[in-house]
Amino acid sequence: MQLFPCPFCGLREETEFHFAAEAGKVRPEPAPGVSDARWAAYLYLNDAPKGVAREIWVHRTCGEFFIMERDTVTREVISSSALPGRAG
């Protein structure tokens, strides 16, 4: 059972969190100018790195989304921070 640091609530067990997205993915829009391939890539293609990953997670109990950097091999959590413009 991993412990994740919510920037607002501190360390909590992983069952309180949901993965949301890989960080840095930009939603392609407006829709009419986006090719099928680009949209499919946005929806389904992830880097899923072996090693350090930068991801958006949500702490379901407080409802806040945040950025977490973690190592997918060692399970080490490197950092977590509020979304830009949000107090941490």
Binding site: W39, L43, F65, R75
Partner: protein, 957 residues
């Protein structure tokens, strides 16, 4: 000859006999015995049968490594299967059922399966029973295999609670090294949790004894316990740490007598691994005979319980540790011969025969050891002599499981012939025998040093043991067992090697080596060593299998704890549940909520009752509890913008005081939820998500709010649980409101038209009334703060009864909505349904702003003309179509065009109605199709989804 009870040795209470039963035969032990020691002392040799060949098997060990002595134990009417005799204290009246005996008990004649053994090599089942399909044979094989039997009637007396604990230091194992480490840490002020699987801390000191710091070891034991307690820590005996998990989580099972067991979830800053080591067997022909036992285990049973393994004892060893056992047994009155594979060994007392350079070749006997054959020694090759007991010590295997579970690596140490934890590769710090340090003085020192202890380590005497390597000899005749619990021999390992299963992971799966409930404690190393010898590789080259939790078998009931039955996934309860029940509601689960299904007396015909309720609601008026309907408040100047982006149907154009049906998609364009949105003010919406989708809808809104919009301009507030909503529906709904004494303005259709919402006050305070309909009839949803729910219930109950109406359950509501073609997301839709499949085409065609899921509505897949679309189905006759039945063409090749999603008796139309998803269905109105179900075909006709009052006149009537 076999085991016996020493007149004085051990700590059992000889004044308190304890009666128990083995396969129905009465036996006697003493208070303080374990099942194992009581069985050993009462002379029972054959304690069970082996898994595959049904060979007689006896006691081998003293703890979690025990592969043979497993029993289904019945106590006070409760049966626990596959209990290790070594780990359960003896209690009065316990009934033991031996395993793998097919009811014949331990007295069974020599096994026919064993005689056929050469036709049953490793992989036999895999190779043989593929003919005709494994599924055909599996039930028969399962009946033959498989340890103890579950008693389905057994229910735990009480659930094992789970306890979460944080501590500074967790010390796993209370042997000499663990004690020294715990005391050193506690002296520095750390809160130490010292966990041991035995009933008392001390580890090997308990049966080996010893002097520490110039006094009997008990003084040291007491000092450790007191130091730990005074620093805020705790000693936890009878507790097995069974798993190391991510981020320093350790799971431990505490066994308690007279109380439910407990499941500890421990998180510690530092962890000391002091789990000790397990004695290895030796490999010779018939090394599985009852009477062959671990030397250390024999010492353990003698010192603690006065249970002596036999009379004429051969101690076969490769190392110094077994000499202590040999001397103890000789002192107890046994005739002892030491057979040491080494050319040099410690000196022995007078009366103990000592053979050097001697190794066991074969044990003889049918149900128990009778004679042994030795190789080497003074008499040269092939010397035979009588012995009733063989105590073996093939070296020691450090218990590194938890270190490896935590990701640790191992190093090979030639000097002790073992794999030990590589320091720094896991968060656990190994000490003592777990780290390959054998001997009391060395263990104490290491525990103290690794814990960073101040001052000198606890002093003790005792040399470090010398251990010589030994390997299975594949050339020896006869069967040498490697894995006693899963019946794997050296020959099976050789077969695996010949057939190319040389990786240890393949070896394990092919032969099932180490896959039994003892987790290969006594067998993994032997299998590994045999494979290394057969393939000419070293042990590090051969590698080890992956260590996974659990380290010890844990009852599923302990892991599950209180999370079973109703508490497995707790249901949400209505604030008015008691009121519904008092009116005869039959409560049932709908999307995590426990809601009234129908009302009536016990034993009623539920279908007929629901039909009747629906009919009353159509003809006069019905009242139902709609509290689970989601109520997500969306507040702030940015509210409309957020609603527009997250919804398929725009809400910014909705006027305050009005309601609008909406759909929420996910980014793949699939309909996630539907529901009505209320706009109470320019900057205030309430989103009525469907009752089972509230949390996920809120998450979609929340993500957009934080990721895309200015979160300071809009906030979300899920108030679903804070309100009671009762819905009045039917032609006389307006009359009910009037006679209930609610504000008159509510009945004014100009002030509150269909799809209107007002916030007003009534006798008890706030009241929100919404004119939306899930039934097709004039309906009023009345919402009040939950604390006023009983009051609202009371006034509506009286008024509805006065108007000739009644309470209706969810089953009636579902009938009413089905004939109106109102869908339920997840029932009438699935994971590919898009809004235009449901007929909601306009926003897809007309909206030019961005919204959630928009792009996905224009993929080639989304534009296929043969997408399944929502339609209605009508049938001749009174029989409703089965839900899930496939719709097929009436002519040509039979293939599925789609399926029935909802079906039932339509209370308004007076005939069966159905909804279905059918390929290109909206273009097939009026077409005849067949509905195929379980071989039967029923003709049906495609219609519009709405079968009743398609013009919607009743909404205003």
């Amino acid at each position: 000859m076999s085991g016996w009870r020493h007149p004085t040795a051990g700590h059992v209470d000889r004044t308190r006999p304890v009666r128990f039963f083995l396969d129905g035969r009465p036996l006697e032990g003493f208070a303080g015995d374990t099942l194992a020691s009581a069985l050993l002392a009462s002379g029972e040799r054959v304690l069970g049968r082996s898994f595959k060949y049904r060979r007689p098997r006896g006691l081998w060990g003293m703890g979690g490594e025990e592969p043979n002595a497993l029993f289904d134990v019945t106590e006070n009417g409760h049966t626990t299967p596959n209990v290790r005799a070594t780990s359960l204290p003896l209690r009065e009246g316990m009934a033991l059922r031996s395993v793998n005996t097919a009811g014949g008990g331990t007295a069974l004649a020599p096994s026919l399966i064993d005689l056929a053994q050469r036709f049953l090599p490793a992989g036999f089942y895999y190779k043989t029973f593929m003919a005709g399909g494994w599924m055909r044979w599996e039930p028969m094989i399962r009946r033959m295999a498989g340890l103890g039997r579950l008693d389905p009637g057994t229910v735990p007396v009480a659930d094992a609670p789970a306890v979460n604990i944080r501590c500074d230091v967790l010390v796993i194992g209370g042997g000499p090294a663990g004690l020294a480490a715990a005391r050193a840490k506690a002296r520095q002020g750390a809160a130490v949790w010292l966990v041991d699987e035995a009933p008392e801390i001390g580890g090997s000191l308990r049966w080996r004894g010893g002097q520490i710091e110039g006094a009997d070891w008990h003084a040291f034991q007491r000092d450790v316990a007191e130091t730990v307690a005074s620093a805020g820590g705790r000693v936890l005996p009878d507790t097995s740490v069974w798993g190391a998990f991510d981020h320093g989580l350790y799971a431990a099972w505490e066994r308690r007598s007279g109380h439910p067991d407990r499941h500890w979830r421990l998180r510690a800053r530092d962890v000391v691994l002091a789990t000790g080591a397990i004695e290895r067997p030796l490999w010779f022909a018939n090394n599985d005979l009852p009477g062959v036992m671990s030397a250390e285990a024999a010492l353990h049973h003698l010192s603690l319980f006065g249970a002596v393994a036999g009379r004429r004892v051969v101690v076969a060893t490769t190392n110094d540790s077994a000499y202590f056992a040999a001397e103890a047994l000789a002192a107890a009155g046994c005739r002892v011969t030491i057979a040491d594979t080494r050319q040099n060994g410690p000196t022995v007392s007078d009366g103990v025969a000592h053979l050097l350079g001697a190794s066991l070749q074969r044990a003889h006997g049918s149900r128990s050891v009778g004679r042994v054959t030795l190789n080497g020694g003074p008499d040269g090759a092939g010397a035979e002599f009588d012995a009733d007991t063989i105590l073996v010590s093939g070296g020691w295997t450090p218990s590194v499981h938890l270190h490896c579970q935590a990701g640790g690596k191992l190093d090979w140490r030639t000097d002790i012939d073992a794999l030990v934890p590589r320091a720094g590769t896991s968060p656990l710090k190994a000490v003592g025998a777990a780290a390959g340090t054998f001997g009391l003085a060395a263990s104490l020192q290491e525990g103290h040093r690794v814990a960073g202890g101040d001052g000198p380590a606890p002093r003790a005497e005792g040399a470090t043991w010398h251990i010589a390597p030994v390997r299975p000899d594949p050339t020896l005749t006869g069967r040498q067992w490697v894995d006693l619990q899963n019946d794997v021999t050296v020959k099976d390992v050789a077969l695996a090697a010949r057939e190319g299963y040389r990786s240890v992971e393949h070896l394990k799966r092919y032969t099932t080596l180490g896959m039994a409930t003892d987790q290969g404690r006594t067998s993994n190393f032997a299998g590994l060593a045999a494979m290394a010898a057969l393939t000419g590789r070293t042990i590090p080259e051969t590698g080890t299998t992956t260590y996974r939790p659990p380290f010890a078998p844990v009852p599923l009931g302990v892991i599950g704890g209180t999370r079973r039955g109703e508490r497995f996934a707790p249901l949400k309860r209505l604030p008015l549940e008691a009121a519904h029940r008092s009116q005869g509601a039959l409560m049932r689960e709908y999307g995590w909520w426990l809601r009234p299904a129908v009302y009536g007396e016990d034993g009623l015909d539920e279908n007929a009752a629901a039909d009747d309720e629906a009919r009353v609601a159509r003809e006069r008026v019905g009242l139902y509890d709609a509290s689970p309907l989601g109520k997500i408040e969306v507040l702030g100047p940015g509210a409309a913008e957020l609603m527009d982006f997250c919804g398929y149907i725009r809400m910014s154009t909705l006027a305050p005081g009005r309601a609008r049906y909406g759909l929420m998609l996910n980014e793949t364009g699939v309909v996630h939820d539907d529901g009505v949105v209320l706009r109470l003010a320019e900057d205030r919406f309430i989103l009525s998500a469907s009752s089972s989708h509230v949390a996920s809808v809120r998450l979609i809104l929340e993500e957009a709010r934080q990721d895309r919009f200015d979160p300071s301009r809009v906030v979300l507030h899920d108030v679903t649980d804070g309100w009671v909503t009762l819905t009045v529906t039917g032609p006389r709904a307006g009359a009910v409101l009037a006679s209930a004494g609610l504000p008159e303005a509510l009945c004014d259709d100009a002030a509150l038209p269909h799809m209107g919402v007002v916030e007003t006050r009534w006798a008890h305070g706030r009241l929100r009334v919404t004119r939306v309909s899930f039934t097709g009839d004039r309906s009023y949803e009345l919402s009040v703060p939950a604390r006023h729910g009983r009051a609202l219930h009371a006034v509506l109950d009286g008024a509805v009864t006065a108007e000739g109406g009644r309470w209706i359950g969810l089953e009636a509501v579902l009938r009413l909505r089905a004939e109106k073609g109102y869908i339920l997301i997840g029932k009438d839709t699935d994971g590919i349904t898009m809004p235009h499949d449901l007929g909601w085409t306009r926003p897809r065609e007309k909206r030019s702003d961005e919204f959630f899921g928009r792009r996905a509505l224009f993929t080639p897949e989304a534009s296929r003309p043969d997408r399944r679309q929502l339609v209605g189905l009508s049938v001749e006759g009174a029989e409703a179509l089965p839900v899930g039945a496939h719709v097929v063409p009436t002519e040509g090749a039979r293939r599925s065009l789609g399926f029935v999603t909802s079906s039932g008796h339509g209370p308004g139309v007076g005939r069966p109605v159905a909804l279905a998803m059918i390929e290109g269905g909206r273009g097939l109105m009026g077409a005849r199709v067949d509905v195929f179900h379980l071989g039967a075909v029923v003709p049906a006709r495609i219609e519009a989804p709405c079968a009743f009052d398609p013009a919607g006149k009743r909404l205003h009537a």
